[in-house]
């Protein structure tokens, strides 16, 4: 029988495990607070995600617990954290795929706000301002006229790179970023690659070189490629870094 004709949702049957969560706790605004782990027990439920689990822990056991969720659907990039040591999106992590002991820590490489909440927004805005992640072109002011044409496949290629959700997993998984806070990371390099292939952006390679032709940019990458391993959107980050490095090496020589 075709699986589609079954009348129940094909989710795993709960074994009602009790999960032990060891959660990093620290409130930097409370002088008495020391970084530490606290443990919470929670009974697993069907289709339970870390979004559901953390909200339940907060509502019933730890009212001061801080974490960030917005879309809870894997598209906004708010909830990245270290889940048993690996960067990932908490909202779409199913408890059924985790062992009975789960350690949760805030994403490294970003300013801590409290507990599992980090300031990725500030970091990303800084990166955006530094790399100027917007279309540089002559100002168009008449939008009554027909739009400029673009090759259909070119638009699709741009979107391919634009799917980045600035979650910060690539920074958390990056050796260089941990050593060099100014490193723009895969998120920055990929975004510039996105603008480089966009025919609407008139920046030259020499201009890109000015911002990423150094150890804080594309030459800082040690090609350990944790970024690609942990990217929740499965972006081709290694390829984009290589593409930018070739272009920047050529621009540097010229």
């Amino acid at each position: 029988m075709n699986a589609c004709t079954e009348k129940t949702i094909p989710v795993k049957v709960s074994t009602a495990r009790t999960i032990e969560f060891a959660i990093f706790r620290h409130n930097p605004f409370d002088e008495a607070s020391e970084p530490h782990f606290e443990t919470y027990q929670l009974e697993e439920a069907d289709s339970m995600t870390l979004f559901i689990a953390l909200n339940e822990i907060r509502a019933k056991q730890a009212p001061s617990l801080q974490f960030d969720f917005v879309c809870r659907a894997g598209i906004c990039g708010s909830c990245a954290m270290l889940i048993n040591g690996r960067p990932g999106l908490a909202c779409r992590t199913l408890i059924s795929q985790l062992p009975t002991k789960v350690t949760l820590m805030p994403l490294p490489g970003f300013e801590l706000i409290g507990d599992l909440s980090v300031n990725t927004g500030k970091w990303m805005r800084g990166m955006s301002e530094h790399l100027q992640t917007w279309i540089h072109s002559a100002e168009v002011s008449n939008f009554d006229a027909m739009e400029e044409k673009m090759a259909p496949e070119q638009a699709e290629q741009i979107y391919e790179l634009e799917r980045c959700i600035e979650c910060g997993c690539c920074i958390a998984g990056c050796g260089t970023a941990q050593m060099r806070p100014e490193f723009v990371g895969a998120v920055g390099l990929n975004q510039l690659a996105r603008f480089k292939i966009d025919p609407r952006d008139n920046r030259t390679d020499a201009q890109f070189y000015e911002v990423i032709g150094n150890e804080h940019g594309v030459f800082g990458c040690m090609t350990m490629l944790g970024c690609e391993d942990f990217c929740p959107k499965e972006l081709p980050l290694a390829q984009q870094i290589a593409y930018m490095r070739r272009a920047m090496a050529a621009a540097g020589i010229n």
Partner: protein, 657 residues
């Protein structure tokens, strides 16, 4: 206390707020955006399927124009919309798409030649013109006569939001992230900024502004099952209500989207059905043609959601341990299409359901999705009662959606409203807007906020904020949902009133500095309960069915008695909202009330309808061109800011001329 002064305070960093700020800035004023989250994480990012604008470039959109988009929008609204505002919207939407294209949105483009597509369950070939190649293409959405929804795969909102946010950064617009406006400052009937809580440090701050715009999105989280992001609690709408001066419009008009995945309620786009996906029941029978022979799966959302629930009530739902649901079938669209144009849908199915939609059916059931209601504004986006307070996007009842919004018209509204309202805010800054609030008024309003926050720490309090929010969400989903009945609505109002009283006794046990999530839940609970009471009371009072508001005890649309907009206010001393109404004038409508083209055909007509219809028919029968006819029926161009008045160029009109 820190006080920050700016020309224009924009509350909300999604598409509407960002575009409004850009407009203000380009006119030489200083905007400042407050955002709960980094702007790129706003709920605008969740719009998957696309943005309606009548470019008419693709074969199935050929012949589209503002008139067709306007008629679709008014029919979708079940004649609840403000027709002048809808006209302003459809006229500006093509400019908005083109502006975003210039700023970087990689809109999917027309590919010339033959394409396989699926329409009404059957494979068809669509041939695109050579001349259209490379122009922005469109897909089909519900309730539309033409394929009009421009898109970027199924990440349209994401691409639009990233582009808009980057543009705001490029223009040097300041965004204060993780800031929550928890009260509006006002004096002498004029809004003068907001009292704001820093969601990192927990400190209160004062932002003073000559004009303020609320662009905080919808309030879906007053429901238990909602596609909305967790930040969509309607706090921006609530603080406008709490002034006692600004009013909310049509709060009972709440949209339920047909395809929330079951049971999590996460959205899968209408594009699934627009691209040819089908709705199936437990026997895998395609049931929508049985109810809606004309539009089938692609009637408006209110209609499709009601038929789905009806079909489940009739015993055709799929049983599961979480309750009953139906199936969405997109397998027939093929792997290539799903892997490129519906990849977010595919990811959502994989991660949250553990299924591959190229091979399996998707369990779906309608879920709360959109708030047509919001802060009542005039066509300029300003509150008619609280001067200096503007609103844009889902937070506003600008009122282009009436009682039901069409898919693809909401991201379109965010940007279009941002363009228009930004200009009117700048006009206001140029002419009348001043900062004239006394420090006594500021102090007394800040003290009220401080007192309220402190009240949650009283030792005798004994209620839990999260439990109260959960109870509220259950009342709303169970009793103020898709099908409504007077008895249940009356129960809902009573229960919400009791929850509201209990919310005054919420206990916050955590007293440490910082954001204090328990305190956030406490003050938000009270505000959300006020909104819930507005929705439930408005729904109880409105004794008819219109758009998404469906009363089983009053099943007909009643234009004779109910062709009017609900206005809700809440005076600071009151324990419940006050409701009054604003009539819609049939005699000035370009499209007089009639049958929508889907859904029920019976209704109670307004006495003016035949007279106005005869007038409209007379004009339409004349020889004038479409612009002249439109101008004669309902002039609107003068309402638009000057930069947006030009006619939109269209390939179809150039070639067919």
């Amino acid at each position: 206390m820190q006080t920050i002064v700016t020309d224009a305070l924009i509350i909300g960093g999604g598409l509407a707020g960002l575009r409004t700020a850009i407009g203000v800035k380009r006119r030489g004023f200083t905007p400042l955006i407050l955002s709960l989250v980094p702007p790129k994480r706003s709920h605008s990012a969740a719009a998957q399927g696309g943005m309606q604008a009548s470019l008419g470039n693709s074969a199935k959109g050929w012949g589209d124009n503002e008139d067709v988009h306007f008629a679709d929008t008014i029919r979708g609204s079940d004649w609840g919309a403000d027709q002048v505002v809808a006209r302003m919207f459809v006229h500006t939407a093509p400019k908005a798409v083109r502006e975003l294209a210039a700023w970087g949105v990689p809109w999917n483009r027309v590919q010339k030649g033959d394409h396989k597509s699926v329409i009404n369950g059957e494979e068809v070939t669509i041939t695109e013109r050579d001349e259209s190649h490379g122009l922005i293409t469109a897909r089909n959405f519900g309730g539309t006569a033409k394929w009009r929804t421009n898109y970027v795969a199924d990440g349209t909102g994401h691409s639009m939001l990233y582009t808009m946010s980057n543009q705001a950064i490029a223009e040097g617009i300041e965004v204060h992230e993780r800031m929550e406006a928890i009260a509006l400052l006002h004096d002498n009937g004029r809004c003068q900024g907001a009292i704001v809580r820093n969601l990192i440090t927990g400190e209160l701050m004062v932002y003073l502004a000559k004009v303020t715009c609320i662009a905080t999105g919808g309030f879906g989280r007053i429901y238990r099952v909602s596609t909305n992001a967790v930040i969509n609690q309607g706090i921006g709408t609530a603080i406008a209500l709490e002034t006692g001066i600004a009013k909310l419009g049509n709060m009972e008009a709440v949209q339920f989207h047909p395809t929330g995945i079951f049971p999590a309620g996460i959205l899968v786009t209408e594009g699934c059905r627009g691209d040819g996906g089908l709705l199936l029941d437990a026997k895998e029978h395609r049931f929508m043609p049985d109810y809606e022979p004309e539009k089938r799966e692609l009637a408006s959302r209110d209609v499709v959601s009601r038929w789905m629930e009806t079909h489940i009530r009739n015993g055709h739902g799929v049983q599961s341990r979480f309750g009953e649901h139906l199936w969405l079938d997109i397998r027939l669209l093929g792997k290539k299409h799903i892997n490129s144009k519906l990849r977010e849908v595919k990811e959502i199915c994989q991660y949250f359901l553990g299924v591959d939609p190229t091979e399996s059916l998707i369990p779906v059931r309608p879920a709360q999705h959109y708030s047509m209601g919001g802060i009542r504004t005039d066509y300029r986006g300003e509150s008619p009662t609280l001067k200096g307070l503007f609103a844009a996007g889902e937070a506003a009842c600008w009122d282009m959606h009436g009682f039901n919004r069409l898919g693809g018209n909401s991201v379109a509204e965010t940007v279009v409203a941002g363009m228009i309202v930004g200009e009117f805010m700048a006009d206001s800054l140029t002419t009348e807007a001043t900062l004239a609030i006394s420090s006594t008024a500021i102090d007394s309003q800040v003290n009220e906020v401080r007192d309220e926050l402190a009240s949650f720490q009283r030792s005798e309090n004994n209620e839990n904020a999260w439990q109260i929010i959960e109870a509220m969400q259950s009342v709303m989903t169970d009793k103020v949902g898709i099908f409504r009945h007077g008895e249940q609505l009356a129960e809902a109002v009573t229960e919400l009133q009791s929850l509201y009283e209990r919310a005054g006794r919420i206990k916050v046990s955590d007293t440490s500095r910082g954001v204090n999530p328990e305190l956030c839940a406490a003050y938000r609970a009270k505000k959300m309960l006020k909104l819930s009471l507005c929705v439930a009371s408005g729904a109880l009072a409105r004794e008819e069915s219109r758009g998404a508001h469906c009363r089983e005890d009053f099943p007909l649309r009643n234009d004779k008695d109910w062709l009017k907009r609900t206005l809700t206010s809440w005076s600071p001393e009151a324990a419940s909202p006050a409701i009054d109404y604003e009539p819609l004038d049939v005699m000035s409508m370009e499209l007089p009330p009639g049958w929508r083209g889907y859904g029920g055909k019976e209704r109670i007509d307004h006495p003016d309808t035949p007279t106005r219809q005869a007038e409209v028919d007379g004009v339409q029968a004349g020889d004038a061109d479409r612009f002249a006819k439109q101008q004669q029926l309902m002039p609107f161009t003068g309402c638009l800011p000057e930069p947006f008045r030009g006619r939109n160029a269209r390939l179809s009109e150039e070639l067919d001329a």
